[in-house]
Amino acid sequence: MKRILLGLIIVFTMAGCSGIQATKPMETVISNNAAVAAVQLSTDQTLESAKQGMADNAITFKVYFDAATINIFAYWFVPEKQIYCTARYYNLLNKNEVASRVFLQNVNAGSYADDVVKGLYAEELKWMQAVNDAVQGSGIQR
């Protein structure tokens, strides 16, 4: 019986450490942002709205990365507040945060052609959806 209980504990621990485990408020934010991203992706964006959207995204990705960083430390001390268990996701969030910031700087400097700006914005929206997919344990391909 002890062995079975140990097995159950291991399996449930594994389940807890898979993908992204967001705190409830963070999960809501991530879910809402993904819903907005879906709407944005389904409609043609003007150049100005894409630029504004990229400015918003840079802030959002920073919030995600900061939350992941804080909660990685929280994970060691407060297990129920774990958020990002895998290094893979943590690195992706780190790169999202950096890339969105770099893209925004170049947008503001006028370094990109209009179609590149719109294309970059669309990819950022897909990342926004992908973060939510990770939280939900979904394998949807964006």
Binding site: M1, I4, G7, L8, V11, F12, M14, A15, S18, G19, T86, R88, Y89, N91, L92, N94, K95, N96, V98, A99, R101, V102, F103, Q105, N106, S111, Y112, A113, V116, G119, L120, E123, E124, K126, W127, A130, V131, D133, A134, G137, S138, G139, I140, Q141, R142
Partner: protein, 107 residues
């Protein structure tokens, strides 16, 4: 310095690496190149990557963004597969627990 000269000097680097990053490195000022070297040397890979990314201002920037989307897709697919496997394992264990529980009550 031209790309060809860079290839001649940097014999330890692959042609693919130099084809991708060579033109960007050549565009950098000395200060930027030194920053890049310093970041790589101190293991700050993401910051080094940011410096390179900032130099990509054409379709190559979009290609980088698309590559990141692919990375997300791969991570999420692997995560979903892992979750499905864990569910199977949990079901199998619970099945075992149920058998024992039934045996204990004589069913």
């Amino acid at each position: 310095m031209t790309l060809e000269e860079l290839k001649t000097r940097m014999t330890g680097l692959s042609d693919e690496f130099l084809a991708e990053y060579g033109p960007i490195l050549l565009k950098m000022s000395t200060a930027e190149a030194l920053s890049l070297i310093s970041l790589i040397a101190s293991g700050k890979e993401v910051e080094a990557w940011a410096l390179v990314l900032a130099q990509k201002t054409g379709p190559d920037a979009l290609a980088e963004a698309q590559a990141m989307t692919v990375s997300w897709n791969e991570a999420n697919r692997a995560n979903a597969d892992s979750l499905a496997l864990q569910k199977k394992a949990i079901t199998a264990i619970l099945g075992g627990v149920l058998s024992i529980a039934l045996a204990m009550v004589g069913l």
